[in-house]
Symmetry: C2
Subunit: 135 residues, 2 copies
């Protein structure tokens, strides 16, 4: 089987250090976080502005990769659901998708919200949220 | 630098074999395509239904990984833009995001549309399009 190698383009810096700190209400209650881009990718930020809407793609390095179905939101009253029709972090390639807004820019650091991931989570890609926002 | 290994969970089968076949109008003009899930991930499809809205994440294996800024849509009248604020396929980790609807299900094959990628493109993740669609 073919495989592909990813390198982080940056990391999330957040006050959420572990499960005990995770906001109870999901992303709505998430604090601001900083996305620190690796300096060698600085040119990929050209044109970035406060207010831009982005999709940040993370690598959820603490997620289980051998889970193919589970109870959504760990609620056992919900039927078992395949991870390809859920947003569970557990999945063969543990990618997280996070729509965020840029709140502040400081060199190669972007303050973004909302994002509900642990401090140190690797970021593997960043895109405009709009398929037309490249103008 | 840390790195992570991805394995394809499936592949796109499409009549779009190369650049000459790509629809001129973007995804709106894209044909239906089949997403063939690898049989060992079949359980991750539990609960999948025709009409479901998904986000398919592809690995754009023909994209350049050393491009950090370019002219959006290859239009040189547009200013150079960092790839982290565009939807260019060229980027350090060449992930593609595709919102699609399931049109038909045949075993571990999903007919989906619209999706504008070449035949054989690896799929690395599939999620519900809604953060609440796991019910």
């Amino acid at each position: 089987m073919k495989s592909y190698t990813l390198e982080p383009v940056g990391f999330i810096r957040s006050s959420v250090k572990g499960r005990g700190d995770a906001p109870r209400q999901g992303a709505e209650g998430a604090p601001d976080a900083w996305l620190e881009i690796e300096p060698r990718f600085a040119d990929a930020l050209l044109g970035m502005k406060v207010g831009n809407e982005l999709i940040v793609i993370t690598w959820l390095d603490e997620a289980k990769r051998d889970v193919l179905k589970n109870h959504p939101r760990s609620d056992e009253t919900r039927p078992l659901t395949g991870v390809f029709y859920s947003r569970s972090p557990a999945r063969p390639n543990p990618l997280g998708l996070h729509p965020v807004t840029v709140r502040e820019i400081d060199g190669t650091r972007l303050k973004i919200r909302p994002i509900e991931v642990f401090d140190g989570t690797p970021v593997i890609d960043i895109k405009s949220a709009s398929t037309r926002a490249d103008d």
